[in-house]
């Protein structure tokens, strides 16, 4: 670790703090990659933040847009980025030059917990690029990977022209969220074995009528009829052999494998897909990740790091991080409270059959078996859960009431957003709905030879909320740009099954 620490541009006093905090973090059991802190000026910070934490990315206007937003809101004093950390081994975290020492310490404590989460949570395992053959360390060289992506796109921009490359990337970015969260955990698809293809297709049996007397056979089941029936079955079987055989949710991967792309297009699409999968775990674990980091920064700061003169500054900062606003979920707040809730329950033994079966409010209130398993439990939870399973398993009725959670929705009649419900079931189901698939609709490729004209057919598994239509049309157009044939998507609009289609020239929409 020391070899990295020496390379940082940290001033001495911060380096001393880093050593101290790192030790505290290790002592409480956090297990992190080596972590490098760098101090950045505000414009460097805005640049790095616009690039999603990385020093360099592929060329694209959207980083510039993000940079403008960040630097404007910084200049006008609207907001300030305190901290940035990237999932890489070694992890890189940035401190903002000129922040107070309390802020810097808070950020460091926060960062060590994030890095522990990156290293240990199962969702982030898919960002691993293998093992170092010598040390056996987890390889996550994403800074290099992003720089390579930049080199690839730049190379093609130079040869083909920035305009066409950028337009193609815009089309790919429209599809960025059409990936399959389960894909990284599925066994690698074996390439279809040749032996299977060589086998002659089985001739299906034609069900024959029962014949009691042999000489009647050719009359009851005439040969021509049997033959024609056989042919019909063979045809039907061929028809049934759809491609893809199963609906494919990894739309980007499907296009990469099957769309008629030129080499530069294939390489750019691969870049977008790789980055989409890299960022996926951060979206799947927003509540847990921020909750975990906030839990540990608050413990470390109050128990180890701060001295008496700093505690008020710390509390002020911490309170603004955990503040809640109407109509907006603060993942920091929900996460930290849920981790504390779990720890408390497992410390007091409030789990298991006996606890679940107990209806006596008084007993439950003072239930304390002194099991003391809380610490162990939250470490287990941080490894094995993502936001959806975390909420599903540990959100309790008591917690919803204590934390004043409510679900809200849009009231058409009053033309405003309103609180809808405070019951446990409603809150939980609303929360799970908005977290499922990281808040994205579930889309799959169902047929790559739609209407036998090699058109692409996708399906939206409707779960109560319609798609935003003007955008959906643009996405269908982007798909047809990549697929180069007409594309159709089946969804539900105002309770009616509807097909959105783009045939290369114009959009159409029809009820099914």
């Amino acid at each position: 670790m020391a070899q990295f620490a020496l390379k940082t541009a940290l001033p001495n006093y911060l380096r001393d703090e880093q050593r101290r905090i790192e030790e505290f973090a290790q002592d409480v059991g956090l297990d992190f990659f080596p972590t490098i802190f760098e101090v950045l000026s505000y414009d460097q910070m805005n640049e790095v933040a616009a690039y999603g934490g990385f020093p360099t990315r592929y060329p694209h206007w959207r980083w510039g847009m993000e940079y403008e937003r960040l630097s404007k809101s910084h200049e006008y004093g609207l907001s300030k980025i305190y901290e940035l950390v990237i999932n890489n081994n070694p992890s890189i975290a940035y401190l903002l030059e000129g922040n107070s020492i309390v802020d810097q310490k808070l950020v460091m404590a926060h960062v060590y917990a994030h890095v522990d989460f990156f290293k240990n949570n199962f969702c982030f395992r898919m960002t691993s690029q293998g093992r170092d053959p010598k040390s056996g360390a987890d390889l996550r060289k994403w800074i290099d990977a992003m720089a390579n992506h930049g080199a690839i796109v730049r190379k093609w921009a130079n040869r083909i022209g920035i305009e066409s490359v950028e337009q193609f990337i815009d089309a790919c970015l429209s599809l960025e969220n059409l990936i399959d969260p389960q894909k990284p955990f599925l066994p690698k698809e074996s390439s279809p074995s040749t032996s299977e293809e060589d086998e002659p297709p089985e001739t299906p049996e034609v069900p024959l009528l029962r014949v009691d007397r042999e000489y009647m056979e050719s009359f009851i089941n005439p040969e021509e009829f049997v033959e024609s029936q056989k042919q019909k079955l063979v045809d039907e079987a061929a028809q049934a052999q759809r491609f893809p055989a199963e609906p494919e949710r990894d739309v980007l991967g499907f296009l990469l494998d099957n769309a008629p792309l030129q080499r530069w297009e294939r390489e750019c699409l691969a870049v977008i897909r790789a980055e989409a999968y890299y960022f996926l775990p951060q979206m799947q674990t927003k509540i847990m990740n921020e909750g975990w980091a906030s839990y540990w920064h608050s413990r470390l700061m109050t128990e180890n790091i701060c001295d008496a003169s700093e505690i008020v500054d710390y509390a002020d900062r911490c309170a603004s991080v955990l503040a809640t606003t109407p109509g907006q979920l603060n993942p920091y707040k929900l996460g930290i409270e849920l981790f504390r809730h779990i720890e408390d329950r497992w410390n007091k033994g409030q789990f298991g059959k006996e606890w679940d079966d107990c209806d006596d409010w008084g007993l439950r209130r003072h239930w304390d078996r002194r099991t003391g398993l809380g610490r162990e439990k939250i470490f287990e939870v941080r490894s094995l859960y993502n936001d959806v399973t975390f909420i599903d398993e540990y959100l309790t009725e008591d917690f919803v009431a204590d934390q004043k959670l409510y679900s809200f929705g849009y009231n058409q009649r009053n033309d405003r957003w309103e609180i809808e419900s405070r019951t446990f079931q409603d809150v939980k189901s609303q929360l799970l709905t908005s977290l499922t698939n990281a808040g994205n609709p579930i889309i799959s490729v169902v047929d790559a030879n739609h209407q036998n004209r090699s058109e692409l057919l996708l399906e939206h598994r409707h779960q109560g909320a319609d798609l935003r239509l003007d955008w959906a049309r643009e996405v269908v157009k982007a798909l047809s740009r990549i697929w180069t044939r007409p594309v159709e998507i089946h969804t539900i609009v105002d309770d009616k099954p509807t097909a959105l289609r783009f045939d290369g020239n114009e959009h159409s929409q029809k009820s099914l």
């Binding site: 933040a49 940079y67 006008y76 950020v107 405003r416």
Partner: protein, 370 residues
């Protein structure tokens, strides 16, 4: 310092300005450009281009949040869309909104940048001159109060190093008389640009509250911009229906009269004010007139044209007429003006149909840098 992101940033700016990638322009979300002085909120326009994706329509979705309130209670402010793709990366602890406090100068800068307004060319009226001392150099003699400490130190250090009397272990620098440096100044003559804005508004029965609000917002921004351009700007306010009178700022925005409209009355009063108080050789004059375009008679319109041609236009930098859309007005006046002043760059007309059109209208008025 040049940053790697500069390229991406200038590409984005070019898209926003519509120089490249025209097809993306339709996704630019409208930046609001509303401001008030004092405690009220100022929203800063930040152009944003959304990349269309398959997402849920937001009104059907709802969400979960924390806090007080009963079912059925409205949420203050509209909820933000979920943690979208914007913050895909890293973990940005504490992106805390603060209340924004801007000076009017800063506001004007933002306005100028957003609308790409050119700085106004002074009409070259340099009659009023002001003297000003500016510190521009350094010399070897001067009063002690103007001693330039850093320069003095530097020359003493240089001398000591050259003489070999400088000891890094005991870095004591003793300046001698020759090392002393003093700031020196020069008196410059600065022309003072003087400007007056004359706001005229039609307050006849057909101008409703919404129309006045539009005028109020628009004149606030015009005021902000011109104040940035000229020091010592003056404003005069005239309201008119069938007769015109000069009022203070407050009355200007509040009054609602009824009755007919004779625009010439306002123009005549404006011409009188200019002649009496603002000799055009010394002043930059900006008359702005807002109306719903419904004038009393054709004769009166001809009279207006006459006053404009003979009195107001020759004296003014530019004359601006903004026509607010109203359900009662015929909107004829703007057509008449266009007809009579076709090709005259000194008279700028603009139609303001609703609040969204304000920004465009300000651009029309001030975009020429006159």
């Amino acid at each position: 310092m040049s940053l790697r992101i500069d390229q991406d940033h200038s590409r984005f700016r070019n898209i926003v300005r519509g120089r490249i990638r025209q097809n993306l322009r339709k996704y630019i979300s409208k930046g609001e450009l509303l401001g008030r002085q004092g405690k009220d909120i100022v929203s800063i326009p930040i152009p944003h281009i959304d990349i269309p994706k398959l997402r849920f329509g937001d009104k059907q979705q709802g969400g979960v949040a924390q806090g007080d309130g009963d079912p059925g209670d409205p949420l203050s402010g509209s909820p933000q869309e979920g943690d979208g793709d914007g913050k895909q990366a890293g973990d940005q602890a504490g992106d805390h909104p603060l209340e924004v406090e801007l000076t009017l100068d800063e506001l004007a800068d933002i306005l100028g940048e957003e609308l790409a307004l050119p700085n106004i060319e002074n009409k070259g009226k340099n009659a009023i001159v002001d003297k000003k001392d500016r510190y521009i150099g350094v010399r070897n003699v001067g009063p002690n109060s103007l001693r330039h400490f850093k320069r003095t130190f530097r020359s003493a250090l240089r001398r000591q190093i050259a003489l070999g009397t400088y000891d890094p272990k005991h870095p004591v620098i003793i300046p001698t008389r020759e090392d002393m440096r003093y700031k020196s100044w020069k008196t410059e003559q600065e022309p003072v640009a003087n400007a007056v804005i004359i706001y005229m508004m039609d307050v006849s029965g057909s101008m409703g509250d919404e129309q006045k609000e539009i005028v109020r917002i628009e004149s606030f921004w015009i005021d902000t911009w011109l104040r940035k351009q000229y020091k010592g700007i003056e404003t005069r306010f005239i309201i008119h229906d069938a007769a015109a009178r000069e009022v203070d700022r407050d009355t200007f925005f509040r009054t609602r009269e009824s009755g007919g409209t004779m625009i010439s009355s306002a123009y005549r009063l404006a011409a009188e004010i200019v002649e009496r108080d603002y000799p055009s050789s010394e002043w930059n004059i900006y008359p702005f007139h807002f109306s719903d375009g419904d004038n009393w008679s054709v004769d009166d319109t001809l009279l207006c044209v006459d006053i404009l041609k003979k009195l107001l236009l020759p004296a003014s930098n530019v004359f601006c007429y903004g026509q607010v859309d109203s359900p009662y007005g015929s909107g004829q006046f703007i057509k008449d003006l266009k007809e009579h002043f076709a090709g005259d760059e000194q008279l700028i007309t603009s139609e303001i149909n609703d609040r969204d059109a304000i920004v465009e209208s300000i651009r029309e008025f001030l975009g020429k840098g006159k």
